[in-house]
């Protein structure tokens, strides 16, 4: 009688262990699906989102077009530095429609240029502007021409 009770208990323990094993195996299998958010594919997407948002926010506020068309490169660097998180480095280049670089030798850059050549994950986003009205200081009249600019922003984490 005592022997029979012991056997019954052992079977329950074996069943429980087996059940736990199945559940753990299932959870482990589910865990294999999970991809770390810092993986390279997602990192570049996050940086692209950040770059697009920064340029679009500045444009909506009316700052971007005025800084680009007036050639205020240092102010443009400052506003981008304020808008983009501190640990993110950027390099902005401005082109006209014929592909000529408009900021010349002045680099609108935050971080060492070596950072961009050594970085594993670099995102590149482009943004367009159509033009800005300007007041002629001599006549006082406003002049507005369609003169697009293409902004190419490279961003990476430091």
């Amino acid at each position: 009688m005592r022997n029979l009770k012991n056997t019954k208990g052992q079977m329950r323990v074996i069943e429980t262990i087996f059940a736990i094993f199945i559940i753990v195996a299932a959870l482990y299998f589910v865990g294999i699906f999970a991809v770390s958010p810092t993986s390279p594919g997602y990192e570049v997407t996050d940086l692209e989102k950040m770059g697009y948002s920064a340029l679009h926010d500045l444009d909506q506020q009316g700052l971007l077009a005025s800084l680009v068309y007036n050639g205020n490169w240092s102010d443009l660097r400052t506003v981008l530095k304020i808008t983009i998180p501190v640990d993110v480095y950027f390099n902005l280049t401005i082109y006209n429609l014929s592909g000529s670089k408009l900021n010349g030798d002045t680099q609108i850059i935050y971080g060492d240029s070596a950072t961009f050549s050594n970085a594993k994950n670099i995102a590149s986003v482009s943004y367009s502007l159509v033009g800005i009205p300007k007041q002629n200081p001599n006549t006082g009249k406003y002049e507005a021409k369609y003169d697009p600019r293409i902004l190419v922003l490279q961003i990476t984490r430091g």
Partner: protein, 231 residues
């Protein structure tokens, strides 16, 4: 008796197996959904659409500034600019497959003597397709305008006070205008002061010495010009 016990044990294993299958299925489903919504670059898409929308509005502004400030206004300036923008968009975003169509575009300058209101306006309707993200038929409209309503109060034959209500396309008054933004009969206004008004919220009172009728020109900060004449 022994057989019955074994059957109960099998039932537990089957229940646990079913639970495990449920965990794996729900896990896979949630992973798919989260990955899609979290890592699909929605913000990139919305910013791209936002860029096109915002700069199409800017193009209307530019065209209206050009139209209202020209000695001989070119009525085709908006259509020409929109056609160039349409072509250049495909060069600016070559891999996106952007197609921007426009319709009902127009520029106008008008004066309504009944309401004593002048209006400079640019309008256009757009349809945007972005093939790379499967977006087709995204419609948006843009209207840019500047209106001016004036009334003149004369204290004597040469001394007048002109009250000007200047409003943008939003229907809100345009703030921060000063004497450099106004010209009366081709001369810079001598004194311009903003006042609160119950109807228009903000009006500008302009002291004017000269003969009537007075032609009032106003430029807002964007450079859009509107002209009204009041006896």
């Amino acid at each position: 008796m022994k057989l019955a016990r074994e059957k109960r044990g099998q039932f537990v294993i089957i229940a646990v197996l079913l639970a495990a299958i449920m965990i794996v299925s729900i896990g896979a489903l949630m992973h798919g959904a989260i990955t899609y919504y979290k890592h699909e670059p929605w913000e990139e898409y919305s910013t791209l659409i936002g860029d096109v929308e915002l700069n199409s509005r800017r193009l209307l502004e530019l065209s209206l500034v050009n139209y209202t400030n020209s000695v001989v206004p070119d009525p085709n300036i908006l259509g020409n600019n929109l056609e160039k923008w349409q072509d250049n968009l495909t060069d600016i975003y070559p891999s996106s497959g952007i197609v921007l169509d426009f319709s009902s575009s127009g520029l106008s300058q008008s004066w309504n003597p009944a309401t004593k209101t002048a209006l400079s306006q640019a309008t256009a309707d757009f349809t945007l397709d972005i093939k790379s993200i499967g977006l087709t038929g995204y419609k948006f409209s843009a209207t840019i305008s500047l209106s001016l309503r004036i009334s003149v109060t004369s204290t004597n034959t040469t001394s007048h006070e002109i009250t000007a209500a200047v409003k943008s396309e939003s229907g809100n008054p345009v703030p921060n205008l000063n004497k450099n933004n106004f010209r009366i009969n081709n001369a810079t206004a001598t004194a311009v002061s903003p006042f609160y008004d119950q109807t228009d919220i903000l009006v500008y009172k302009i002291q004017y010495q000269g003969t009537l009728p007075a032609t009032v020109e106003v430029w807002d900060q964007r450079g859009i010009r509107v002209v009204g004449t009041q006896n």
